[in-house]
Structures are given as structure tokens and as C-alpha cells.
């Protein structure tokens, strides 16, 4: 029973949340240009490391907000929790983020981030 600090509601028991799997998966904007293999990778392939992993969770029984979480899959230690749309700032988070195997979509992600930043009025 993890103790998760929702960035909006504070520390809550895991039972209030649902896990959304691997984080930082960006939906390809030009999906029709992708090969079937690349598209199926986006749809189905998910990273499953033994060690530091960045995943996303949603506070389903609370504020219903999505956020990102850096967790050690062996010890369940949580290193960092940060809002959706942001990048990790902790040491472990940065290492795991760099290791992101979805290299081809990194640029898209960065572009999207710029749009989000602009949006905040």
C-alpha cells in the first residue's frame, strides 16, 4: 500500500489511485507517416525495468488529476512526483528520463511542452 503524495491533494493511500503505466509516451502527431511496426510500438510496447521507472498515476477517487511518479520497482521507494507536462527534476528521475527508449518522439514531446507553457495565461 504505497503512500502517494498527490501534487494537488497531498499524501494519500494507494487505494485512491490507479496506475497508468509508463509515462512520457507522446501520441505521434503524424501517425499516418508511421510504419505499422512503429505504430504498434506506440500502442502496445511498454517499458518494464527492474529498477527506476517513471510511471503515471491518476487520483481516481480524489481530484482525478494525472501526474508522474518516479519509483524504484524493486524497493517501491518513490523518488519524485511531478505534474503532468513537466520533466523530472530529481537525480533518479533525470537518469530514468534520459534512458527513455522512445527516442523518435522526444522532439515531439519537447514541442508539446512549449505549447503547454504558452497556454498558461
Amino acid at each position: 500500500m504505497l503512500n502517494i503524495e498527490c501534487p494537488y491533494c497531498g499524501l494519500r493511500d494507494e487505494i485512491e489511485f490507479s496506475c497508468g503505466g509508463e509515462a512520457h509516451i507522446v501520441r505521434p502527431n503524424k501517425c499516418h507517416g508511421l510504419s505499422n511496426k512503429e505504430w504498434s510500438e506506440y500502442l502496445f510496447s511498454r517499458y518494464n525495468p527492474k529498477g527506476i521507472f517513471i510511471e503515471r498515476w491518476v487520483h481516481s477517487s480524489g481530484c482525478r488529476r494525472w501526474f508522474n511518479l518516479v519509483r524504484n520497482t524493486i524497493t517501491n521507494e518513490i523518488y519524485e512526483i511531478y505534474k503532468m507536462g513537466e520533466n523530472p527534476k530529481s537525480k533518479e528521475g533525470k537518469i530514468a528520463f534520459k534512458k527513455n527508449w522512445r527516442g523518435s518522439h522526444k522532439d515531439e514531446f519537447n514541442n508539446l511542452e512549449k505549447i503547454n507553457v504558452k497556454k498558461k495565461n
Binding site: 503512500n3 501520441r27 499516418h32 505504430w39 500502442l43 503532468m84 497556454k119
Partner: protein, 1012 residues
């Protein structure tokens, strides 16, 4: 604590003039015999007092067994407890607290404990070593069922209750604390006192009824000149008065989970409480602590020798405990065998109550110290370098054979001497109780001096103190505890501490131990290999050696192959010896062998405790609509749709299911029907980017829908498969009202929120769930317009003004209503949305007026039939997550204009694949035969098995409007097979033939929709 001296009872084993906490005389029953005891003492203690040594029969070999230990580490004495309707098997006699009228029974024996026929198995013991079931009972194959029948009867411990209703109440409680201290022994109490005095919210938990831990069982520890248990009592009284302290006795911390989440099973009221269902019997505490302090102490290990499982062989510390705490004497002609100093305290205790200690055998070559001298001074003979070769007796210890050990300790070097005894107290050392520490993820280290694993690397916010920490000197422990606790408290910002003055007098023990994991048998004598390591699962030392010989050299493999440590006692007294024997066999260091993974629960937890009050009506919420009281009043039958209970059909008089549904379906198309559709999901979508958003979520185009119009939409998952459908209406450019299926409501809401928050946060769209805000009353049928007109509705229902797929706002009986012209039946239909408070009233108003027009209510079954007659799909019935819109013949709903929408890319792959199952209609050749839903289709009735299946039936009903059976199904390449005959082999061996037809059976031109 009532210090009343009590008198000698009929029982021979109670010590004269002994002072205990237990003083109310009660009668209880064991195996049919009425016995006396004191309320609150353990059943084990009461049985010892009544000189009952034989308590049960062992798991595999049915050997006679007795009480070995004091508390939850007891492996042998499992009993079955009765009180009226409450029956519980496999409870340790050491944990049962007796009360007046307790009925207890021994287990695993037939016909009775003394003369158990199962003993016969012992003669076959050579056929039953560890892992025997991988080697025996293999042939012939078909005999396994017979073997299994007998093995099941012979194996196992207790028998479960025959009563199916548990009369007791259980509950859960969530609790948040600053500090939790597990174990109320001397160090636990000191730590709690310091923590409590600093004002932090504190929780102290202990397994036993009284706090004090080892202080309750020893008589040679004094704290501040008070006897140990008196000091403990004073401290617990002090703690009880503090408002920031919660004390939990009779509670076991059974699990240490992530992030300091601690689960505790509390025994709230023992069997004697008769108030069923009001007060909980057991309570599960779910505690989140900022800091955890583990002070669970040490568990003693036995020595292993031939015959060590006979009743009368006990752990030496436990012998002391029975004397000091309960005032009962397990035996008066005693032999003590030890490898450490602690057992000498037992010699002193026994001597002081008048028992005769024949010898103290110390397997160490030599040892010195105060305590050894004091034993010698009493005239008790201490033999160094001696061991027990065998323990002998029929159903209890009668004598032991002792002899001097060789230098290596691997053999007895002289002829053995026979000593007549009735109690053997053994001590093989003490193991820190590191279960919870290990569950927390902490790593252990091997201590060479004290021959045990102790905590080394702490992973969570916890600390270990006292015995748990591997500390064997009580004075040192307490000093360390004070220091460690202060350091912990400083982390809370606490700077000042009350002075803690503790003068501790305790025996000093050098505690250097010698380890001989299996004491040797007598030389020359035929070696009996009945030297038990795990008593509960009947695991012998030879089993461990056998497993190793067969290649199971890892401790985890050894555990599973031999079942060492897999009993309800989880190897508390046996795991260490197993590791030791394996390490000797492989000539490896113990550190290299390591321990098995410690898992929760620490001691068994009942299902009742885990279920709490989530049973019966509270197991899963039952959701009802606001119109439900009418359905109930009119005897509707219900069906579950997710958590909702919806009216399924409304039988009149003596109608059965089929008649009622046929009537409802027929009547709806003849006059009109009314349905409670309030459970359908409704989502209010607002914002300037709504159209953009809907264009991504739905397959069709939403850019041009005008204010007041409704449109049917299909939602796909990113893999192109149908996820949900519904009608969405445009209230204005920035405000849409979406509907979903009943079970889809929360799913679609979460789905859309996910996209908006994680992928398109730049879209100005906001969602609010309004499923329960509106009651939805659906009227369908040619008379619906007239009925609505007659219900005080101020909306102009003229066909030109209010066409199909539009909605209007207005009033019905002065209640604000939004009326949608949407049809799920193909008939003229109005879906009336009113705020749910008014749902019941408007339903009644419409129905009352409508009765004259022939209006009848219809339930979900009739609704299913009506839409099937028109070939409309139901998501979840025709689809199962692997069906895309093209399969359903719904190409028309996929926009050709749109650049992108969720699922579009995947459709490019899946819609072009051949051999996909496609939605078609099925007409059975016999029009009265209704195929069962799920029936599989095959191409020919003559094929030999295995036959290729080409599809299945998704919906199947009898249609009174078509006057024949109708069905929808997904058949491979169905869209190119219209007119073909296919076959459905059914479970009753019948093979039904049917034709593939277009999936619309009634009003295929759609002429009835305007009711004209």
C-alpha cells in the same frame, strides 16, 4: 492486577502459594474431559496444570506431540475450539485464553488421541520422506484419484467448521500515528515512555494480554528495585493515562508493508462474549506510521536430537515462563540440555520451586560465569561436553540417553547412560525476531558471536531495539534504546527529554554458544533418524540431507521441497536449524546460505478479519435510480448492470419471463412503452474547443452539428476497436451533452479526462459528470406523441417543429425538462430528461396518463429485443474489445474527411484484414428455435472434430413482432455470406441449422420512426 494467592486445586502441577494474574476459577473441556483452570491463562498452561502431556498428532507421521513453547512460536499444540456456533481449527493452545465453558479438541487423530490409527503411517515412514509425492503414488495413473482421497483424509491438521454462517462481526480501522512501537517488552516500554512523554501520537502493540514481554516470564530481572512484571504493569498504567498514547494488547502486527504501512490483527473480544454482530470479534488496523520501532525480542531455538518431538521436550525458556507466569510445573524430574548460558536460569527456577534437576548438559567443552557457579552451588551436576543421544518414551518422555561428545561434536564417545526424566528442557540459542524487519525490505547480517541473523541495513523509516536488534544483554539494550529513541525523536524536532532513570538488575550471561545442529546418536546403536527440525510439518534432519543430495541446494528450494518452515508457525523455531544443517552439508558459511524471504502474515490471520464488514449487503454497493420505488411497488424483476439494479421485466399476474417480455415488446410497437433509462451515462462538456475534442474522440464529424441537434457517435480505443457509443447533443457551440452506455459512464469519463490532461492540455474543454443529475424516462411507440401531449408538456411536438435527432427544452408538469427525440427501438420515441429529484413524479404522471393509450412499462430485456429487431448494436454485447466499426458494418460512421481521430491509424491495418468476424443476422431454419447467446457457428454439420469455429451468436431472442426467433452474430467474412447456411452445435448435442441474413429484422426501411 489482582495479587491474590490461590489455593491448590485438584491439578497436581500447580505450584503451591504461587502468585499470578489469573485467579477466577473456571471449568473447560478438552477432548471430552472436564477440567479446571483459571480464566485468562493459556489453554496450554491449564493443560500442563492438569498433567495432560499429549495434545495432538503430527501432520505426516501421526506421532504423539505435546506443548513445546510459550507463545506464537509453538509448532505442535494445535487445537480446535468450540463455543456454540463458533468453531475454529488450528489454533495454538498457547494462544487460547480459557474461559468458563470452553470446549477444545485435539486434531488429526482417529478414533482418539491416545490410540490414533494414523500411527500406522509411521511404519511406512521410509516411503514418506521429503518430496515423496514426486516419487510415489505415480502409478498407475488412474489410481491417483483413489490415492488422493486417502491422502486428503490423512493429511492436514484441523477440520473446518460445518456451520456456514459466521456469527461474528469484524471490522477495519484506519489509523495514523507518529510512532508505532511493536512489542511491549522492557525495551519497547522504555521507548514508548520516552516517545509518549514528548507528546507525539504513539501506538504500542503487543501480542499478549499483559504488557511486559519477557519480563512476564522471568523472575530474575529487577528494574528500579521492582520485579520486572510489576515495573511493566506500572509503566502500562502510566501510559494508559496519556491521551496521546494508544495501547493495543492481544494484537499481532502481522505485516510490514510499503512506506511504513503496518497491518495489525486485534483480538477484540474472545469467545466468551455473546453479543453477536454488535461488537467486532477481530479488528484489522491499517496503520500508517511516520516511524516504526521494532522491539519484538528473541525466539528460542530447540536442540535437535533423536526423539526430540516427544511430549515432555520443551524449550527451556518456556519452561521458565510457565513456572513464572502461570505457576504451573511441566515436570519435576528434569534434564536440561543447552549450548548457551540462558538455560542455567531455568535450572535455578526449577530448583526454587522444588523440582529435581537431574543434570545440566552443556554441549560446550567448557564455560564459566556467575550463573553457572550458582547452579553448581545448588548441588546440581553440570556436565560439559555432553549431549543427549536420544529421548525415549511411548507417548511422553520416559527417559533420555546421555553421553560425552567427541571434540568435533559429531559422535558420542562412550556408552550412554540412561536417565529417568519426565521433562527435558532444551536450549539451542536465541534468534532475534526479524520477520517484520525483513518484510520492510531490511537486510540481515550474520552475527558470529551469537549465531544468529540480525538487522543490518535499514530501508524504511524504522529502527530495531533490544532482542530484535541482536542485543542479548538487557542492561545494554535499554541504554541503547534510550539513545536510539532520543535520536529518533530529534527527527521530529524534539529537543528536550524527561530524565529516564533506570536501575536494572539482571543476570549476566556470557552467551557464547556452540553450534551443533544435530546432536549425534549413540554409537553402535541402530541410528533412529527421528530427529525433527520442523515439528509442524514433520521435517527430519534426514529430509534436509536428502533434499540436498537431490540437488536442492538453495535455501528457497530446500524450503519448498521439504516443506521446512511452511507450516502455520512459519518455521519460527525451525528455520535456523535448517539453514545450519544445509550449511554444514555443503560446507558453506551460513551467510552464504542466507534465509528464505520473510512474508506476511507473521501469524495466521482469519478471513473474517481481512473481509471486515465488506460482506453481504456491503460487499458491493447496489445502485438504484430515483424511479426505483415504483419498480419495486409494481413487482419488477431486476438484473445487475454493473453496480446498478435495473428493472428487467414487469411480470403481470402469473406471467413467466418469456410471456412478460413478449408482451412488453409487442405492446411497445402496438401502442407505447415506457423505460427507465436513468442509468445511462451523461457527461456535460463545456469550453471553446469542444468540437475539436469530439472530433478526436468520435469517429464521425462534429464540426457542423447545429444548436438543438443530436448525433449518434461511436468511440474507438486507439487500437481501432469499439469502446463505447452514445448520442451527443449540441446545446450551443461551447456546450454539448454526451451520453454513454450505463457501464461505460465512468470509463468514458476517465478516458476523456486522461486525453485532456495528458495529451491535449491546451484544449479549452471541461467535463462534468451528470449521470445522476438527470432521470431519463424513455417513451417509445406510435402513441408516444399523444401520451406526451396529454402529460402537461408545453413543448410543441409537431413533426416539422420537433424532428428526429433534435431536442427541446420545456416544462412537463412545471418541472424543467429536456426532451430528446432519439430512438433505440426504431419507433417514434422521446427521451425525457428531468432533474432526478422529480424523476419519480414525472414517471408516474406520464404513466398514469398513458395507461389509457395502452402505455406499459418495459424493462431491459424488452429493450434488448426491440433494438435487436432493428439490428442496433449494444457495446459489450456485439462488441468485446476486438470488434471494429467495419466489422459491425458501420463504415458510414467513419468520417472520410477527418485527418485524425483516436483509432483511425489502427483502422488502416485492421479494416483491411481478411477473415474478420463481421456482424450479421441469423435466422434459424426452425423459426421457434432460439439459439443460446455464445453458441459457436461451424460451416458444415458433417465435419469431424476438431471443427473449425467461424463465429458466435452475440444476441438472441424471440421476436413477437417478427413472430420468429432472431439473432445477431459475428461470423467470419459474414458480409459476403448472406444467404449461406451455417450450423450451431449445442451443448445438448443438437445441431441447429440457420441462414445468414441482413442484420435488421423489422421495419428495415425505418418508416416507423416518425410514428406516422
Amino acid at each position: 492486577m489482582n495479587l491474590i494467592t490461590w489455593k491448590k486445586l485438584m491439578s497436581k502441577k500447580r505450584i503451591d502459594n504461587f502468585v499470578t494474574n489469573y485467579n477466577k476459577k473456571v471449568f473447560f473441556n478438552f477432548d471430552g474431559k472436564k477440567l479446571s483452570g483459571f480464566e485468562g491463562e493459556s489453554l496450554a498452561s491449564a493443560l500442563i496444570a492438569n498433567d495432560i502431556k499429549l495434545i495432538g498428532r503430527s501432520f505426516k507421521y501421526h506421532r504423539p506431540r505435546g506443548i513445546m513453547a510459550l507463545g506464537s512460536e509453538e509448532p505442535n499444540a494445535l487445537v480446535r475450539i468450540h463455543k456454540n456456533d463458533r468453531i475454529e481449527p488450528n489454533i495454538q493452545a498457547t494462544k487460547v485464553k480459557i474461559f468458563d465453558g470452553l470446549v477444545s479438541q485435539s486434531q488429526n487423530r482417529w478414533p482418539n488421541l491416545k490410540y490414533d490409527l494414523g500411527k500406522v503411517i509411521s511404519f511406512f515412514s521410509r516411503l514418506l520422506p521429503a518430496g515423496f509425492y514426486y516419487k510415489t503414488f505415480m502409478w498407475p495413473n488412474f489410481m491417483w484419484k483413489t490415492y488422493e482421497y486417502f491422502i486428503r483424509r490423512l493429511a492436514g491438521h484441523g477440520k473446518a467448521s460445518d456451520v456456514h454462517e459466521d456469527p461474528d462481526k469484524y471490522e477495519h480501522i484506519h489509523f495514523h500515528v507518529d510512532v508505532i512501537i511493536v512489542g511491549a517488552g522492557p525495551t519497547g516500554l522504555v521507548s514508548t515512555l520516552l516517545t509518549a512523554q514528548s507528546g507525539l501520537k504513539t501506538l504500542l502493540v503487543d501480542e499478549n494480554n499483559y504488557f511486559g514481554g519477557c519480563l512476564l516470564y522471568e523472575n530474575d530481572i529487577k528494574i528500579n528495585s521492582l520485579e520486572g512484571k510489576v515495573w511493566a504493569y506500572k509503566i502500562s498504567k502510566k501510559l494508559k493515562k496519556m491521551p496521546n498514547v494508544t495501547l493495543l494488547n492481544n494484537s499481532t502486527v502481522f505485516g510490514y508493508h510499503d512506506h511504513n504501512y503496518i497491518t495489525i490483527a486485534e483480538e477484540c473480544s474472545n469467545y466468551s462474549v455473546d453479543e453477536y454482530l454488535t461488537f467486532p470479534r477481530q479488528r484489522l488496523w491499517k496503520v500508517r506510521a511516520k516511524k516504526v520501532i521494532l522491539a519484538q525480542g528473541l525466539i528460542e531455538r530447540p536442540l535437535i536430537m533423536s526423539g526430540n518431538d516427544l511430549p515432555g521436550v520443551m524449550l527451556s525458556g518456556s519452561v521458565r515462563g510457565y513456572i513464572n507466569n502461570y505457576g504451573v510445573l511441566p515436570g519435576d524430574e528434569v534434564l536440561i540440555c543447552t549450548n548457551n548460558d540462558d538455560a542455567y536460569r531455568t535450572a535455578l527456577t526449577l530448583h526454587n520451586v522444588g523440582a529435581k534437576v537431574k543434570y545440566v548438559l552443556d554441549i560446550r567443552a567448557k564455560a564459566k560465569g556467575k550463573i553457572i557457579e550458582s547452579v553448581k552451588n545448588l548441588g546440581i551436576e553440570v556436565l560439559f561436553g555432553y549431549g543427549i543421544a536420544s529421548v525415549n518414551g511411548n507417548r511422553e518422555v520416559k527417559n533420555v540417553e546421555i553421553g560425552p561428545l567427541s571434540e568435533a561434536g559429531s559422535s558420542i564417545i562412550e556408552k550412554t547412560k540412561k536417565i529417568k526424566v519426565n521433562l527435558v528442557a532444551v536450549s539451542g540459542g536465541w534468534t532475534p525476531s526479524v520477520h517484520l524487519f525483513s518484510q520492510s525490505g531490511g537486510k540481515l547480517i550474520w552475527d558470529k558471536k551469537y549465531f544468529c541473523f540480525k538487522p543490518s541495513i535499514h530501508v524504511q523509516e524504522e529502527m530495531t531495539i533490544g532482542g530484535t536488534d541482536g542485543s542479548f544483554d538487557i542492561k545494554k539494550s535499554i541504554d541503547e534504546t534510550i539513545g536510539k529513541t532520543k535520536t529518533l525523536l530529534k527527527q521530529f524536532g524534539i529537543r528536550t527529554f524527561k530524565k529516564v532513570n533506570l536501575k536494572i538488575e539482571a543476570p549476566s550471561l556470557s552467551n557464547e554458544i556452540r553450534s551443533i545442529w544435530r546432536l549425534p546418536n549413540e554409537q553402535g546403536k541402530k541410528t533412529s533418524d527421528k530427529a525433527f527440525v520442523d515439528f509442524q510439518n514433520d521435517v527430519l534432519t534426514s529430509d534436509i540431507l536428502l533434499a540436498s543430495n537431490e540437488g536442492y541446494n538453495s535455501i528457497e528450494h530446500l524450503k519448498r521441497y521439504t516443506t521446512l518452515g511452511m507450516g502455520t508457525d512459519q518455521g519460527k523455531t525451525s528455520n535456523m536449524a535448517g539453514i545450519g544443517i544445509l550449511s554444514n552439508k555443503l560446507s558453506k558459511n551460513i551467510e552464504e546460505i542466507g534465509t528464505t524471504t520473510y512474508r506476511y502474515p507473521y501469524t495466521p490471520v482469519t478471513f473474517g478479519t481481512i473481509a471486515g464488514n465488506d460482506i453481504k449487503s456491503l460487499f458491493d454497493p447496489v445502485r438504484l435510480t430515483k424511479i426505483d420505488p415504483w419498480h419495486r411497488l409494481n413487482h419488477a424483476k431486476y438484473e445487475h448492470v454493473g453496480q446498478w439494479m435495473r428493472a428487467w421485466y414487469y411480470p403481470q399476474k402469473n406471467e413467466n419471463f418469456r410471456d412478460a417480455v413478449n408482451r412488453e415488446v409487442y405492446n411497445t410497437r402496438q401502442s407505447a412503452g415506457i423505460l427507465d433509462a436513468s442509468t445511462l451515462g451523461k457527461i456535460d462538456i463545456k469550453g471553446s474547443d469542444v468540437r475539436k475534442f469530439l472530433n478526436m474522440i468520435y469517429t464521425n464529424d462534429w464540426s457542423s452539428i447545429k444548436k438543438g441537434q443530436c448525433k449518434y457517435g461511436l468511440m474507438l480505443k486507439e487500437d481501432g476497436m469499439v469502446m463505447d457509443d452514445g448520442v451527443t447533443s449540441c446545446i450551443n457551440d461551447n456546450h454539448f451533452h454526451m451520453t454513454t452506455t450505463t457501464t461505460g459512464a465512468p470509463v468514458v469519463m476517465s478516458w476523456m479526462e486522461e486525453w485532456l490532461q495528458t495529451e491535449w492540455p491546451n484544449l479549452d474543454v471541461f467535463l462534468t459528470s451528470v449521470t445522476e443529475q438527470w432521470s431519463v424516462i424513455s417513451i417509445a411507440g406510435p402513441k408516444s406523441r399523444d401520451i406526451l401531449k396529454a402529460s402537461n408538456c408545453n413543448v410543441n411536438l409537431n413533426e416539422k417543429i420537433f424532428p428526429m435527432m433534435t431536442f427541446k427544452d420545456g416544462l412537463i408538469d412545471n418541472v424543467p425538462a429536456r426532451i430528446f427525440r432519439i430512438s433505440f427501438t426504431g419507433e417514434l420515441s422521446y427521451e425525457i430528461n428531468v432533474p432526478s429529484k422529480h424523476g419519480l413524479r414525472i414517471w408516474q404522471k406520464i404513466l398514469k396518463n398513458g395507461e389509457d393509450f395502452g402505455l406499459m412499462p418495459y424493462g431491459t430485456e424488452a429493450m434488448h429485443v426491440l433494438r435487436a429487431e432493428k439490428g442496433f448494436i449494444i457495446v459489450g454485447q456485439e462488441t468485446d474489445g476486438s470488434v471494429n466499426p467495419v466489422d459491425l458494418g458501420m463504415d458510414w460512421i467513419i468520417s472520410k474527411k477527418k485527418n485524425d481521430f483516436i483509432g483511425k491509424r489502427s483502422l488502416a491495418i485492421t479494416s483491411s484484414t481478411n477473415d474478420r468476424k463481421q456482424l450479421v443476422g441469423i435466422f434459424t431454419d426452425d423459426p421457434n428455435k432460439v439459439l443460446p447467446e455464445g453458441a459457436h457457428a461451424v460451416e458444415s454439420s458433417k465435419e469431424k472434430t476438431p471443427v473449425k469455429m467461424i463465429g458466435h451468436i452475440t444476441s438472441s431472442y424471440f421476436s413477437p413482432n417478427c413472430n420468429r426467433s432472431i439473432a445477431l452474430g459475428l461470423i467470419k467474412n459474414g458480409h459476403s455470406k448472406f444467404g449461406d447456411t451455417i450450423y450451431f452445435p449445442l451443448l445438448d448435442k443438437d445441431v441447429v441449422s440457420a441462414k445468414i441474413v441482413k442484420p435488421c429484422f423489422f421495419d428495415s426501411k425505418g418508416e416507423r420512426i416518425n410514428g406516422l
